[in-house]
């Protein structure tokens, strides 16, 4: 770890990718992630990497497919509408089991929406998105330092599981500056004997593909994918807890909202309310068991999101009806304040808020 420097979140992702050995970036500009593509434009040539501005998000994700299939550590980034355009490509990448990193610095939706921060692409990232049964690994960091750590981790997980990894941030994380330290390097990329490098003496051609023309073959492939996802679910759940030990109300939040909520927790604790924060760091796999375990001690849960209520479904699935689950959300690019969340907490703990 070198000394700390002050950096914008978007740029920190870029530098972390460089540290992680990413030498291929394909993307298309969109607010609020343009600093990232711009950083890569400047940085890639300095490290003999390839920066290419694609003609569209669709082209970018398919360039990623090609480069990942050719064995590279490769990244693309965008924000909400652009990520929607990548869905077919992401489904192909998942189907062909290609490792790559996709960054979504999400903004307010739907449609053209606004360019202020949003968390309303949670469902898209963790459930739906593209067609078919597949899963992205979804990392939801909450600071510039964690953006860096998650970016490095993303490349490692992508290679480890041959799976797309999405970093789901938001405009606020992308634009804010905080001190960060970069690791010296990431885990070396593993050998990729399956990559299309040209035969180079190999006997059997390598094929990168997601087509299985016979249904039984595709079912077998899906079974293989599901087994892989199961392993990932077992091994890669990440989360953080803050003052949950004795919490009667557990707030669940991720990303920029988790910081707001953490401040709100402090405010609540200051007046003697037993409140804690459960913060998923992986949105998929979601830490269902860990959150569910808290239902033994807590009397209630509240999801706080910059959305109309998406992660709250995963909270419900964790708690399985044993305790009430509340929801508080802001949308459209609005960010809630600690005081606002504290206000809701007070109402709930006085038993006023509806479920």
């Amino acid at each position: 770890m070198a000394e700390k420097i002050l950096m914008k979140g978007n740029e920190a992702i870029g530098e972390a990718a460089v540290v992680a050995g990413c030498r291929h970036y394909f993307g298309y500009p969109i607010t609020p992630q343009s600093e990232l593509i711009e950083y890569m434009a400047k940085r890639m040539p300095q490290v003999n990497g390839v920066f290419l501005q694609a003609e569209s998000e669709v082209a970018a994700i398919n360039m990623v497919y090609g480069a990942a299939g050719a064995g590279a550590r490769v990244m693309t980034s965008s924000s909400s509408p652009g990520i929607s355009l990548k869905q077919e490509g992401i489904s192909y990448i998942a189907g062909a089991e290609l490792p790559c990193v996709i960054v979504n610095m999400a903004r307010g939706g739907p449609g053209l929406g606004s360019i202020q921060p949003g968390q309303c692409d949670y469902f898209q990232a963790t459930k739906g998105g593209g067609h078919g049964d597949y899963n992205n690994i979804v990392l939801v960091p909450n600071s510039v330092q964690e953006l860096v750590d998650c970016t490095v981790l993303a490349f490692e997980l992508a290679d480890k599981y041959r799976n797309p990894v999405m970093i789901l941030g938001d405009g606020a994380l992308g634009q804010m500056m905080e001190p960060v330290a970069f690791p010296d390097k990431a885990a070396e990329a593993p050998a990729k004997p399956w990559a299309t490098t040209g035969l180079k003496g190999r006997k059997e051609p390598n094929v990168i593909n997601s087509l299985h023309i016979q249904a039984p073959d595709l079912e077998k492939h899906n079974y293989h994918l599901q087994m892989k996802y199961k392993t990932i679910k077992q091994n890669e759940r990440r989360w953080e807890e803050y003052r949950t030990e004795d919490a009667e109300l557990v707030l669940v939040a991720y990303g920029i909202t988790a910081r707001v909520v953490q401040s709100a927790v402090d405010m609540a604790r200051a007046v003697g309310l037993k409140v804690g924060l459960f913060r998923p760091i992986t949105a998929w796999p979601f830490p269902y068991e860990e959150l569910g375990r808290l239902a033994k001690t807590a009397k209630g849960f509240m999801a706080v999101e910059l959305s109309a209520g998406q992660m709250v479904e995963d909270v419900r699935l964790s708690v399985v009806g044993s305790k009430p689950v509340y929801f508080y959300g802001r949308t459209g690019g609005m960010i809630c304040t600690p005081k606002e969340v504290f206000g809701i907490v007070k109402k709930i703990m006085l038993g006023e808020e509806e479920k």
Partner: protein, 179 residues
């Protein structure tokens, strides 16, 4: 101790840089810091503002909603943020461009004729540095030395700029310390 500062002004008044320098200085002092711009719609010529937090404890929400210090470089900014300032906080007003003073009596008002001082110094561009000097003198969130070190790091390629900016910062600080 946690300083939560909002700095606001026209685009082009150097508000963002002011905030970044302070944040950088805080980092050099091993404090917990964050800086976040309020990036409005991509329209031109609007107002710009940033939130700076400098604290002894880890930073929670980076967006400041109840500042301990407000810096208003123009009138719309004063109008917008004056009310949010915590009682007892610092209200730093660029009196070169803002004719009115504060309506509040429960805050520490500092009038800084920054453009005038900058012009006196012979460089209109350093008005923001004058204000920065005032901020650090008023809040003591970071030391002058740290800010100068931060400046030297951020403008490592243009060392010739340091002298005039240092002067500006000192003039701004003198408005408080000289009082």
């Amino acid at each position: 101790m946690t300083h939560e500062i909002v700095m606001a002004g026209f685009g082009g008044q150097g508000v963002m840089l002011m905030g970044q320098l302070m944040t950088y200085a805080g980092m050099l002092e091993n404090k917990h810091v964050s800086w976040i711009p309020s990036y409005g719609p991509e329209m031109r010529g609007g107002t710009a503002n940033c939130s700076v937090i400098i604290s002894d404890e880890p930073v929670g929400a980076p967006i400041v909603s109840e500042p301990t210090t407000v810096v208003a470089m123009n009138l719309p900014s004063l109008d917008k943020f004056e009310a949010a300032l915590q009682a007892g906080g610092n209200l730093i007003i660029n009196s070169s461009l803002i004719e009115r003073s504060s309506k509040r009596s429960d805050v520490n008002v500092l009038l800084v004729p920054s453009n005038d001082i900058a012009n006196e110094l012979g460089n209109a561009k350093v008005a923001n540095m004058v204000v920065l000097g005032t901020i650090i003198a008023a809040t003591k969130a970071v030391s002058q030395e740290s800010v100068l070190k931060a400046f030297a790091k951020m403008f490592a390629k243009k060392p010739e700029l340091l002298a005039i900016n240092e002067q500006a910062i000192k003039r701004g600080a003198a408005l408080v310390n000289g009082k």
